[in-house]
């Protein structure tokens, strides 16, 4: 598996440039043109990334999530969901780095091969950071009216989280 993923990128680059040369494209000038567009793109998304990182990190600093979760603890105990996974599930759509950090803590405390360790692994892989992606992609082209995109994205996340619980239970439970 590792060797495949190591070969993919070089092959991909090779094929693109070979195809370009074959079609008589001036590959160097075209690269420069595209790279310039990329630079402008970075310029456009910089404010969005700054805004999101700032707000999400302040929110994490405040420890509000842990406090809020202590109220719903008994409810989840009833249906046999391990408590330590909840902050991770809630943070997954907001911050990939934060949920990754919690996953790592779970690995350290319970081991990656424990039920909760496998559950955390599945959860991390099952969805992307919806709110960040929406902010970034819409922000880059200055879209402010996002219509029904956020509810649909969060619905997909919720289904993914529920599926991760059920599937991990079936496979390893």
């Amino acid at each position: 598996m590792n060797t495949i993923s190591k070969v993919i990128i070089p092959l991909f680059v090779l094929i693109i440039i070979l195809y370009g040369v074959k079609k008589k494209v001036n590959v160097y000038d075209t690269f420069l043109e595209g790279a310039k567009e990329g630079l402008i793109m970075v310029f456009h998304i910089t404010p969005t990334i700054m805004a999101m990182v700032f707000a999400v990190n302040l929110f994490l600093d405040s420890n509000f999530l842990e406090a809020a979760l202590s109220f719903v603890k008994p409810l989840f105990k009833l249906i046999n969901v391990p408590m330590d996974i909840l902050p991770m599930a809630l943070l997954r759509p907001i911050s990939g780095t934060a949920s990754m950090a919690i996953m790592n803590d779970i690995f350290i405390n319970f081991g990656p091969d424990s039920f909760i360790g496998r559950l955390a692994s599945t959860l991390q892989g099952c969805t992307d950071t919806t709110i960040y992606v929406l902010a970034l992609y819409f922000g880059s082209i200055k879209i402010t009216k996002t219509r029904y995109s956020l509810p649909v994205g969060l619905f997909a996340d919720l289904m993914g989280i529920i599926a991760a619980f059920i599937i991990t239970f079936i496979f390893f439970g």
């Binding site: 990329g38 990182v53 990754m100 992609y137 879209i143 599937i167």
Partner: protein, 192 residues
């Protein structure tokens, strides 16, 4: 929508810290998180520029159209509002492909290019189009076939079988993507 979330995150953070007397942490945070943001941008900038450069060659040479044509049977069902030869389709195909292979750093510039192309024929520049929303649902569903970072973290923490979660991840991600696309489809159909 993002507007509300952003404001809510900050209100909660500062308000809750004032109540619990934890304001020192927030004070430091306000001063340091701008740097965190800039570091993130600096980290992604080199690959962004590199990939948009490489992909421009694929776009001009017509290779991007070849990608799009291969995936056309699926893409035309997902994006009925886009004509077959739309420039965005090649970038969408590349974005989804890069995500599947776990190449996050390459996926983002492809995705941003796709949005840029979609924006070009958006009549109402501040409002998301149906195609944009479907693309983002597809993107945030995060169809990752090999979650490389998770596997390496499992390995570091001494897992006996670090790759055993690949199958559960693929199943869960499929459920998530399918659910998102289904809801998106239903909303679009209802609008007509």
């Amino acid at each position: 929508m993002v507007n509300v979330i952003w404001a809510a995150l900050i209100f909660i953070a500062i308000g809750y810290s004032l109540i619990t007397g934890n304001i020192e942490v927030i004070n430091n945070g306000i001063l340091t998180h701008a740097t965190t943001g800039i570091n993130l941008i600096l980290e992604m900038m080199p690959l962004m520029i590199l990939w948009t450069g490489i992909m421009k060659i694929a776009e001009v040479s017509g290779l991007l159209n070849v990608f799009a044509r291969v995936l056309n049977p699926i893409l035309s069902k997902l994006f009925p509002s886009l004509p077959k030869e739309h420039k965005a389709l090649g970038y969408i195909a590349s974005n989804v492909g890069a995500n599947m292979l776990g190449l996050g750093s390459a996926a983002t510039p492809f995705g941003l290019k796709a949005m840029e192309e979609l924006q070009k024929d958006n009549p109402c520049k501040d409002t998301a189009t149906e195609a944009m929303i479907t693309f983002l649902v597809l993107n945030t569903g995060g169809v990752t076939l090999i979650p490389t970072t998770v596997i390496s973290l499992r390995l570091i923490n001494g897992s006996v079988n670090p790759t055993e979660i690949i199958i559960t991840s693929i199943l869960a991600t499929s459920v998530s993507s399918f659910a998102g696309l289904f809801l998106d489809y239903m909303i679009r159909r209802k609008k007509r």
